[in-house]
Point group: C2
Chain length 671, copies 2
């Protein structure tokens, strides 16, 4: 018989082919281009190439697959089973040899480019393709007769055993350790390779742990996720306050600090780097892994955090024309950012910035939400002190930043506070009695549930946070306590004692006694009006630029966005009209983008490419911004209709023109 | 007239073409591919593009060139002349516009790829093409309406104004300074670019100073040359003792120190790096230039110095199989080698090693001497404690190392000493009287010249250095005081009192009294015999491998090689026979190679490519080495004929066999 071959079909890929009898499943997979993982290179050590033999008659494939299709369990497989456990029916692809025709399933965890499961059902899938990969390799010993360097023999082995033909460099610190490690491992070592070209770490013998950290450096909080670089799994997450707060609560005050204190950027840089470094340790300690195995980090942040993290003076970002030092993505060594808790040669990838006001955090949001991949016209708003706004689809993407101010974060609100236990986060007003009910962070009861007071005794009711004030204002508007123009209506005082005159304006009293009075004042309403009008006007400006009057999907990104109810956001007119079920929260989409860039190096090229194509619109210099802003002060809007919202919610009818809008109405013009 | 063109011919290139009337000479040169330098990019600042208008009738070119061929002197040229001086007849190519046909000469100093003049007439020419180049550039100001990073606009300007389309990176420290520098220079800056792809330094405004240092890190001395990276000129040179000497005089004792003191390599590394850093400062201080303008360094050294400099443990190099950590060339940042006196982002290029015993210094020798470029079969020997030997031509190159020991450096010689004032370096013996005459370092008189004693009174005659001992032994052999087998001949004692019995052997007394007796003992002869036999045997082994019996050219490299007289080297049989006029000294060829690699980046690729093709021969494991070694103990050789030498020098006739060779003759077998 000339052809001693067997037929093999791999599932789920469906790839099939004929290979010589006796070929290992792993070799067959490689020959047929089937994606099967391996760290040890087929030596039965790592267990990454586990496969499952399907048994039965597969007439549509013309194959009968059964126990005789493979060699019986080999000794190395039995050893692996004893040491690390092999699920029933599983075989090591590198040692199971084909004896007959076979149908072999490659389970997801055995695929190199496995898909990572993300929590949100609508999140775009991530395929594993990390920039750092581990390779176990057996290196030729030195031979006096054919002298060559240890590194050169290692590179040769990586080329021969792993096809890494472009590998030509090694970090100097790894070179320092190389000779000892090779001998300690008896010429068997594992190397971490960055982008297929450069060795960043070496271990004696077999090593299969490599981790990465995706970090979102916000001006208020810094969040980090530790990921396994082979499975993509998040092993630990944590967040801390940004210690730069001691130099200024908001970004502009930190920039002012730098302007007024020459060299102050070094203090701010040291503070944020130290925080990132400490957070890195916190997450790997939580997960019980070795910091020396943290080999890759990805960072996102707004332009000022981005600059301070990189040690760049942010002064230029504090004044027109808001020039970034660079908007390109950067890859640095951990040591260049003074990160001492991770592997010193860990690579730090910093996502690109989009413009002086639209940073790497927004790039992360774009990467996570993928508006550039959809036909649907998507509006993404990430609300903080500035709101970053992205609008577009696969054809065209625009970005802008709007100066919303800190009202959404609870600042400038009389009883406002950051989201923390004790803060009101949900708010309802009875349409008949005009009585409020609310929930506070840290308690599952509503304020009119029995036992509420006892339940919140520990924290008290301390104030109202951003999402709470949004709901409160929307409910006040819907209940008729406040007009569409944002005036707390003196007329309502006749219906409830909760509306009380407050000098020349009125307030709505939420809670009295218990130490802290909580009320919503006319000034609070004005602060939110200014913020929401800025947000809306920015979005509307992008819509104008794109020549559209409607968007098909709205994504509320960021911590604030993830806590507000989409319907209330529409009621207040923070965003243009849209079916409420098409308005979703994306949570920390910037951090999710950092995680995608951590797990998939192709995503780095993707976002760098997309960022170059994004058209930037500068709101501050657009006269139409001011017009849109004025029109957008009303709830939901002075002139734009909200038919999608109206179909879902009973909006109050506009007052007849000329009605009394309240005591301060005539003074509001240039508020 | 449709064609308002003019004809221009450039000399010396001979390129000619037709360009529009009014074109600047620089633009015409660029259009015709003529090599004209510029740092300021045609702004009349740098004066690098100076040209000379030839005047006269050039019938063979069909051109009449004269004062009317160019615009009269322009105002920027007059300004340049006032500021920096313009030689008579010189014009700035960027401002001199063509009005008629012209013959324009580009003087050597105005060519980018100018040839560097080297001292040795036979040295291969070096063409300027440094890895670091300066570019003056005008950068667009930031525009809020079209936001882009300062770096991106700089890169765009470098692409547009200098064709640097691959420039995509900037060192983080330069990025830190970029925004301030751009504004300080009013958007006109000079950048240093490494290999056309990465910015390594930025200066506000115009800057035209960039320097490099070529450094030869020897185990005994470290030598450095400061070069101007635009002219190639050596501005200062200096040398210091290698401070590692306190850890051991020779390399092996330093390796032993590391073996016996774990972590000792860090001390040795710190010592040599500190010395290189200090030497760098010494040379730029000598030349009166700013260390911050030193942007490139090249380093050569033997394998152990190479490893210690890089912070690599040299232990493996002290024991078979002598495995290098890497033999590849490396490019590092100055900071990675703790060099603090130069620009921190200066690039340090370390030449490749050839084998565990044949280092980057030999690579430098090969680059300087260019055996791979010649048809002539060249033998290069670089003599130190080990001799590195290279043999071959453009077809094939071989390399080996021979364990000559330190005798050539004056060690193991009874009156031996390092080359220093007071050491005998030249030696003659009168064939009739057998009286010696000699010269010492630091004095131009021969010892039998009147006034010699007074002239050397300051130093005295303190010993005999390597070149002196070579001459002394060769003269003793030629004068018949010593036999071809290396026995100081007792029979000569009858002719001169200078041959004196010394126990069971004889010595030749050079000088008595004056504090120090200087004599050449039988043991001295034996030490040199062992050293020269090892050197010859290594060379001969390479000749065997190549299948040749004769070489066409011999180069003696290194400090020792540059001081010995080629004829005496042949008389002693240190090297195979060769016409004495084809034996030359190359001086510090390793350092010259480092300088070539500094001035021409193409030379780096060249030596990396050549090193990969060099075949390494390990002398220690070759049985024939031992045979050759034994045969080579005699002067000039026991069996090999030296016809070329015999044609130039009266060699003593071999004694009839069985003659009395002296008292120790019968015991010499395994000396």
């Amino acid at each position: 018989m000339a052809d001693d071959g067997v037929d093999i079909v791999f599932t789920p890929s469906g790839r099939r082919g004929r290979v010589a009898r006796g070929t290992s499943v792993l070799d067959a997979a490689r020959a047929l281009g089937v994606d099967v993982d391996s760290v040890c290179g087929g030596r039965g050590i790592c267990g990454r190439c586990q496969v499952h033999l399907a048994e039965g008659d597969f007439p549509q494939m013309g194959i009968v697959s059964g126990p005789a299709s493979l060699d019986p369990l080999t000794e190395p497989e039995a050893r692996f089973d004893a040491r690390r456990g092999l699920k029933p029916g599983r075989r090591l692809g590198c040692h199971a040899r084909l004896r007959g025709d076979a149908v072999v399933d490659v389970p997801p965890e055995s695929q190199v480019h496995k898909q990572v499961v993300r929590k949100r059902a609508d999140a775009r899938p991530v395929e594993m393709d990390p920039a750092i990969r581990l390779h176990y390799v057996e290196v030729e010993k030195p031979d006096m007769h054919r002298p060559s360097g240890d590194f050169e023999r290692l590179a040769q082995a990586l080329s021969g055993q792993w096809g890494l033909d472009d590998l030509a460099e090694i970090d100097i610190r790894s070179l320092h350790r190389l000779q000892a490690v090779l001998r300690q491992g008896d010429w068997k070592v594992t190397v971490a390779v960055h982008r297929g070209v450069r060795i960043t770490k070496v271990w004696p013998g077999f090593h299969d742990r490599a981790y990465g950290i995706a970090c979102d450096v916000g001006s208020t909080t810094i969040a980090a996720h530790l990921c396994d670089l082979s499975t993509g799994e998040v092993l630990a997450s944590d967040g801390i306050m940004n210690p730069q707060i001691r130099f200024g609560e908001d970004l502009m005050s930190r920039v002012s600090y730098v302007m007024m204190n020459p060299g102050g950027e070094a203090e701010l840089t040291a503070a944020v780097r130290g925080a990132v470094d400490g957070l890195a340790r916190a997450v790997y300690d939580q997960a019980g892994v070795d910091g020396g195995d943290v080999l890759n980090l990805t960072l996102v942040g707004n332009p000022i955090m981005h600059h301070l993290l990189l040690g760049l003076d942010p002064t230029e970002l504090g004044q027109a024309p808001f020039a970034l030092a660079t908007n390109a993505a950067l890859t640095l060594w951990a040591t260049e950012l003074d990160l001492e808790n991770v592997h010193p040669d860990a690579r730090v990838y910093v996502l690109p910035c989009i413009a002086g006001h639209v940073g790497a955090d927004t790039a992360g949001v774009v990467l996570s939400e993928g508006p550039h991949l959809a036909d649907e016209l998507t509006l993404i708003v990430d609300v903080g002190t500035n709101a970053e706004i992205v609008l577009g689809n696969r054809d065209r993407l625009l970005a802008a930043s709007s100066p919303t101010g800190p009202a959404f974060e609870g600042a400038q609100i009389s009883c406002g506070q950051r989201a923390a236990p004790g803060a009101i986060e949900r708010f309802r007003i009875d349409r008949a009695t005009l009585e409020p009910r609310f929930k506070v962070i840290g308690c599952d009861l509503w304020s009119d549930d029995p036992g509420f007071d006892a339940a919140v005794a520990a924290t008290g009711v301390t104030g109202i946070c951003g999402s709470g004030i949004i709901e409160a204002l929307a409910e006040m508007f819907l209940a008729g306590v406040m007009t569409a123009d944002g005036v707390i209506d003196g007329a309502a005082a006749a219906r409830t004692a909760r509306v009380q005159a407050d000098g020349r304006t009125y307030s709505y009293v939420v809670r009295e006694g218990g130490g802290i009075d909580i009320r919503i004042t006319q000034n609070d309403v004005r602060a939110i009006q200014l913020a929401k009008a800025a947000l809306y006007a920015g979005a509307r400006l992008l819509m104008d630029t794109l020549g559209v009057d409607e968007v098909q999907r709205i994504v509320l990104a960021g911590a604030f966005g993830s806590h507000i109810d989409p319907t209330y956001a529409l009621v207040l007119g923070m965003v243009p009209d849209c079916p409420p079920d098409k308005v979703t929260s994306a949570g920390n989409a910037a951090g999710a983008g950092a995680r995608i860039a951590l797990l998939n190096q192709g995503a780095r090229q993707e976002i760098e490419r997309v960022v170059r194509t994004i058209e930037k619109v500068e709101t501050a210099v657009e006269p139409r911004f001011q017009e849109h802003f004025v029109q957008a002060m009303a709830f939901p809007h002075k002139t734009a209709p909200y038919p999608h919202l109206a179909a879902a919610v009973d909006l109050p009818q506009p007052r007849p023109p000329g009605g009394d809008d309240g005591p301060r109405r005539r003074r509001r013009r240039r508020d």
